[in-house]
């Protein structure tokens, strides 16, 4: 009976329902049977006619008491249809046959054998729809019935299928036990075909267990039997197995060749399941060989065939890989569609639903469907909560994607607590990773939002919590990495507690190299916080430790950083002395990069003291040497600055241009060099190059964090040109635009397109007023500007900018 209420609209749609019916042993109602026959007659008229005749005969035989004959006939037909790729017909026959069998006498051998065959077919059908537990039950029943019926061939077939089911479940020991038992039976019966299948199965089990010697042993034995009893299907199995062994041996060329042969042989055998399996492995080899497009094409062929033949369990194994390959080859929309199909298949099989939801959620995010993607990920989190330990790795990935998704959706800050609470449900290490990720993403958001409020404190607390979840031996390294990352984001204040915690852990674990590295980085963070004496103490500790064991790397860095600290403290002689020590160590170590950097540092200390000739000599050595581009650019920029200060704007402009050509400086370094070039060109009176450089400086400044020093230099440079009457170019408008833009960027509004009303308004106002004279002397302009700023910016930012403009020197 169609007890589950399956509705029939066509062979493809109804298949899982029919198979389920066959597996559970129900019969088909007459009306349903007729409906099925009609739909099959449309799609395969010859088969349906044969089937109708056979089933009618079987039913008739049953009615007159010849149940054995009818059951035998049906079981044989069901096996035949399954092997020839017509699972729907096999399923119908299974249902009919099992229903007939319930009316028969249990101890008759023929009946038992027929029932065993049908349970075996039902198990294979169950595998096709991904119902492994039911498949296993069917095979166990089949084996038990076959033993009672003393049918060794059937016992062996059921054992082989039990072995395959155990392999799918990852129980390799049971799989091997069943396979060896089946092999013995086939050997006793001298069944060569059965032996080859079992030898290949044992080879596959050995591959999955990573036992290559054993795998080679089984494949060699299978090859021996295959020479006298081979057919394309079995040959394909051997090539496939050899391919998998080659993959594990790392010989991808040999694997590629073997799997190509496996695919060809499986196609000759018209064995869809083997063809799909071989294509899947062939695709994996292409992926391993870094040929993702080829891998995708092969896997797409496998999936298409599996869809046509309703090989659900193969589909469920392949679709996640296909999604990933489609993403990797830039086919995000296809990946989304495949992920949707995966979820359908998983829901039908009632397994792997959480993984499918997770993958679909991720694919949605990749396609810009942020809200539904986050909903799908929430569903995946919920589905994985049923077996959280089993799905721990999946939950880690889902949480990772939830964090990324909320970040893309700009909803991270509103979900901090919920995400952190979820992280805390994971095991300690993944929890630490998730909290670290959450903290660092939020730290990135800090760069574009106001530094005030609760967020910095929350970020700091999350990152510290992530550290404390680690054992003390594994605490120092992430503290170093997080601090370096935060340093690059300009979040200096957040690094101090992390590095202090890391230093304490490294001391406790006796990690001497780590201690030195953290002391160095902590010292630099303290310099940023203007805590110079504390920084100097740390550098001194490193000098003491590193002197003992000739750790020149630590020693050189400590002296170099002491020099910079003294420069900031205004202690120029100490700065020079420390830089000289750093230079001496670099000369000892023979490290060319360290040497060049030390020379630039020493030159800067000379410049601070007005010793420009000494500085120039050192900088010229760096420029003429083999230093890194970044160091050379810094040296050239400093030479430009010296030339400009000595009334040589043309030489200065040349130096700045060279610095820009050398490249590879930080964004801020590039902006500073461009400003230097503007200043030099303004002083040279070269109008066109000046305007071009000014425009490049505008672009460069837009990419760096707001910096009052840079903005002031830019503004003064632009005004100097304007006040000297060199050009009608609206310098003020440009300067104010940059200043406001930089401040606005700090406030979190990145929409600085040309249509931005604030910039347009400012541009018009400044342009109009700029022609009447320098704007800082014009109260009307400042008043207009103030009103515009207050309308469009937070009060704090508006006040700061107005104050800055009012305080500008004439």
């Amino acid at each position: 009976m169609a007890a589950d209420g399956t509705t029939l609209s066509g062979p493809d749609d109804e298949l899982p329902g029919i198979i389920r019916l066959a597996v559970t042993g129900g019969d088909l109602a007459d009306s349903l049977f007729r409906q099925l026959m009609r739909s099959m007659a449309r799609s395969a008229p010859e088969l349906a006619a044969d089937l109708r005749a056979e089933v009618k005969a079987a039913r008739a035989a049953s009615r007159v008491g010849d149940t054995e004959g009818s059951l035998h006939r049906i079981a044989g037909l069901a096996e035949g249809f399954l092997e020839s790729g017509s699972p729907e017909l096999a399923a119908v026959l299974c249902g009919v046959g099992l229903n007939l069998a319930t009316n028969m006498t249990a101890d008759e051998t023929e009946v038992l054998a027929g029932r065993a065959s049908l349970r075996n077919v039902a198990g294979l059908l169950a595998i096709r729809i991904g119902r492994y537990t039911e498949a296993s039950i069917c095979f166990e029943e089949a084996r038990s019935l076959a033993i009672t019926a003393e049918d060794a061939s059937l016992v062996a077939a059921a054992s082989l299928n039990l072995s395959n089911t155990a392999r799918i479940a990852g129980d390799l020991m049971s799989a091997e036990r069943h396979a060896r038992a089946a092999l013995r039976l086939y050997q006793e019966q001298a069944d060569a075909r059965g032996q080859i299948q079992l030898l290949q199965t044992l080879g596959s089990i050995a591959v999955e267990a990573g036992d290559l010697d054993q795998a080679e042993h089984w494949v060699a034995r299978a090859s021996t039997v295959l020479r006298s009893h081979g057919d394309p299907g079995l040959t394909s199995g051997n090539h496939h197995l050899r391919g998998r062994i080659h993959v594990l041996q790392g010989d991808l060329d040999a694997a590629e060749a073997s799997l190509q042969l496996a695919v060809a042989a499986a196609r000759r055998a018209k064995d869809s399941d083997k063809t799909v399996a071989a294509l899947q492995s062939w695709s994996a080899v292409a992926n391993d060989a870094d040929r993702p497009a080829v891998a995708r094409r092969r896997l797409t062929s496998a999936v298409t065939l599996a869809e046509q033949q309703n090989l659900r369990w193969r589909l469920q194994g392949m679709l996640p890989s296909l999604v990933r390959l489609q993403v990797r080859t830039g086919r995000k929309a296809e990946a989304y569609s495949t992920a949707e199909r995966l979820l359908e298949v998983a829901r039908e099989a009632e397994s792997g639903v959480a993984e499918a939801e997770a993958l679909l959620g991720a694919a949605m995010l990749d396609n810009g469907m942020l809200e539904p993607g986050l909903e799908q990920l929430e569903a995946a989190w919920g589905s994985s909560a049923v077996t959280p330990e089993e799905d721990s790795e999946l939950r880690e990935q889902v949480l990772h994607n939830l964090i990324v998704g909320h970040s893309l959706n700009r909803s991270l800050q509103g979900n901090i607590q919920g995400l952190a609470d979820r992280a805390r449900t994971l095991p300690k290490d993944p929890a630490a990773e998730a909290l670290q990720q959450l903290g660092l993403y939020l730290a990135t958001e800090l760069c574009t939002t106001s530094p005030t409020g609760a967020l910095p404190g929350q970020v700091g607390a999350l990152l510290l919590e992530s550290l404390k979840l680690r054992t003390f031996r594994r605490r120092a390294w992430p503290s170093l990495l997080m601090a370096s990352h935060l340093e690059q984001l300009g979040q200096h204040a957040l690094t101090l507690p992390l590095l202090r915690s890391g230093l304490a852990a490294a001391r406790r674990a006796g990690q001497e190299t780590m201690i030195r590295q953290i002391r160095n980085d902590l010292g630099l963070a303290l310099v940023q916080a203007a805590e110079y004496p504390a920084a100097l103490r740390l550098f001194a500790q490193n000098i003491n430790a590193a002197t003992v064991d000739e750790d020149l790397q630590t020693l050189g860095l400590a002296h170099f950083n002491r020099s910079e600290t003294y420069r900031r403290m205004g202690q120029q002689k100490n700065a020079q002395s420390a830089a000289q020590a750093a230079l001496q160590i670099a000369e000892e170590s023979g490290d060319r990069d360290d040497l060049a950097e030390a020379r630039v540092q020493l030159a800067l200390t000379f410049m601070d003291q007005g010793l420009f000739q000494d500085a120039q000599g050192l900088l010229e050595m760096v420029v003429g040497g083999t230093a890194k581009p970044k160091t050379k650019a810094a040296a050239l920029s400093s030479l430009g600055s010296i030339a400009l200060g000595h009334g040589q704007p043309v030489i200065a402009a040349d130096r700045y241009r060279q610095a820009l050509q050398v490249g590879e400086r930080s964004r801020k370094g590039k902006a500073e060099t461009l400003l230097g070039l503007c200043e030099a060109l303004a002083a040279s009176g070269l109008r066109r190059p000046y305007v071009r450089a000014l425009q490049r400086a505008v672009d460069a400044l837009a990419l760096v964090r707001y910096d009052v020093g840079l903005a002031s230099r830019f503004l003064r440079c632009a005004m100097r040109w304007h006040e000297n009457g060199k050009d009608s170019y609206a310098a003020e408008a440009l300067a104010v635009g940059i200043l406001v833009g930089a401040a606005q960027f700090e406030e979190g509004d990145e929409n600085l397109g040309e249509g931005n009303p604030l910039l347009v308004g400012l541009g018009v106002a400044a342009g109009a007023l700029g022609t009447e004279g320098p704007f800082n002397r014009d109260p009307a302009f400042v008043s207009l500007l103030e009103s515009r700023l207050k309308e469009n910016l937070p009060k704090r930012a508006a006040r700061a900018i107005i104050k800055f403009i009012r305080d500008l020197p004439n």
Binding site: I127, H240, A277, A284, A362, R474, W477, S589
Partner: protein, 157 residues
């Protein structure tokens, strides 16, 4: 290198790597096992599947070391070369160094402690770059790096 002159250096590199608590070092003298097989494929297999390869280049360069180096480089591992500051390389080693120094990170060292600091610094710089790139590349959240699964069987029975 297999010569005794670099044994302290090899140990120093391994210690520096393992101080992180997250990375595990492997080198034949400490981690290889004696057995009736050639060490060459084992060493090359390790090099190919490592995240980093740190080459200590002394006076000479053995064939196995060269093969390990190129196996790791071919497998897109991060390779870093360190040379002792007072070492006189033979012609072959020098030619190798001159060719490779243009494409990979390298440095000199004075003592084992110096080498440890340089190794840790290199790992830190690389790990932070990865962290930053991963965060910048957040437009793609499905995980394409995950290995694809090979078929689990040879077809049904």
């Amino acid at each position: 290198m297999r010569s005794g002159q670099l044994s302290d250096a090899r140990l120093a590199v391994a210690e520096a790597i393992e101080e992180s608590g997250f990375h595990e070092a492997w080198y034949w003298e400490r981690d290889g096992h004696a057995g009736p097989f050639s060490s060459r494929p084992v060493c090359i297999g390790q090099a190919e599947t490592s995240d980093y390869l740190i080459l200590l280049l002394g006076e000479t360069l053995t064939e196995v070391t060269r093969d390990e180096y190129f196996a790791a480089k071919g497998a897109a591992a991060v390779v870093i070369i360190f040379v002792p500051s007072t070492c006189q390389r033979d012609a072959e080693a020098e030619a190798f160094f001159q060719a490779e120094a243009t494409t990979v990170t390298y440095g000199t060292y004075r003592s084992p402690a110096d080498l440890k600091s340089r190794v840790l610094k290199s790992l830190q710089a690389h790990a932070v770059r990865i962290l930053r790139e991963r965060q910048l590349d957040r437009q793609l959240v499905t995980n394409p790096a995950t290995q694809l699964t090979a078929a689990t069987g040879n077809g049904g029975s």
